[in-house]
Subunit: 210 residues, 2 copies
């Protein structure tokens, strides 16, 4: 195996971890992988906190650099690998806007609804309803946007697509039916057809990978 | 008055609007200002949606460019104005990480708790409790980090500080007592001492400003 300069720390069933893994594989970059056992609290141990001070997954080590926050990692990788940043100033800025929108309006509702469905998160019914409605509102915005262009920031895929896909790929586990958002569903198909694409569990195992 | 090349659309009492206004004033950039009357639904009208497709405040027009999402606007401004981006690769990356962390873990809890306190948002008590606890958890992370350095990403202020300050400046309206987070309180004092600093209502009126 070739020596990789990237080591990804995360969890295979985590959307934010998958975003980074998907970016690396779409860029054709090999990476080592370390499973972080959230159920055993590994993310709150000093060894992991030295890599990611927030105690969240994912983290990415690239040479001397220890990187965290999936959106920030995607921006970093798009620059150092020169891919998926957007071809011009306007597209790059639109891509950034979608990254921040995704973090605020898409992932929180979908991820928490899914976490409740899978038993990872407890929530009062009123709170669960707020999360579900937030996820649905995010899907509606995404669907309307994807009615107008093949990818989120235009004709070509960017890290904005990769960020949103990391939420959407797990949405049905939360009970969101992608068939209700046909433009999102069609776009998800386009994402899955990109060269090098792999689905979460085909890309990341639930244990270490070198 | 000198002709400004920036026009900011927003609401004076909005943290995200203030982040952009604070960045511009700290950079010494004049700007025109357009109040968006959320109570009258101005943000959902075609005129505003043509500037910001998400129908949220703020938006910033710079020449031909129509910009939205406060985190993405801060990144744009730090590049075109050459200020507050962070002096080196590591600081720039840390700054990005704080921008995404802030959007995910600081603003949502603080802003929603404040919106409930001010009567702008209705929430079930269980949901309000989740928001308050999220805000407190964010303040705790911020406080621990600011125990170690004067600003969020090191010795000098960056757009990471400006983003976090836009949430913190309104936190007490939500019942969060900054005295409980002494490092945050001391940092807020350092922010308010920066050349050009203005508090929200000294910077933005509740109506248009040219």
């Amino acid at each position: 195996m070739p020596q990789s300069s990237f080591t990804l720390y995360g969890v295979a069933i985590s959307g934010p971890t998958y975003k980074v893994a998907l970016m690396l594989t779409l860029c054709g970059e090999p990476f080592a992988y370390r499973h972080v056992d959230l159920f055993k609290g590994a993310h709150k141990q000093p060894e992991f906190l030295a890599i990611n001070r927030y105690g969240q997954v994912p983290a990415l080590v690239h040479g001397e650099l220890r990187l965290c926050q999936s959106g920030a990692i995607l921006q970093y990788l798009s620059e150092v690998l020169g891919k998926f940043a957007g071809a011009d100033t306007l597209t790059r800025q639109r891509t950034r806007e979608w990254l921040f929108w995704e973090a605020d309006r898409l992932s929180p509702g979908i991820n928490r609804t899914r976490a409740i469905a899978r038993g990872f998160l407890e929530a009062d019914p009123a709170t669960a309803k707020v999360y579900r409605e937030a996820g649905e509102a995010g899907l509606k915005v995404l669907d309307e946007s994807l009615a107008a262009s093949n990818f989120i920031a235009g004709a070509m895929p960017t890290i904005g697509d990769i960020a949103c896909y990391g939420a959407i790929v797990f949405a049905e586990e939360g009970g969101f039916r992608l068939a209700d958002w046909p433009h999102v569903k069609a776009w998800a198909g386009r994402m899955a057809a990109l060269p090098g694409f792999k689905a979460p569990l085909d890309l990341l195992p639930m244990n270490d990978m070198r």
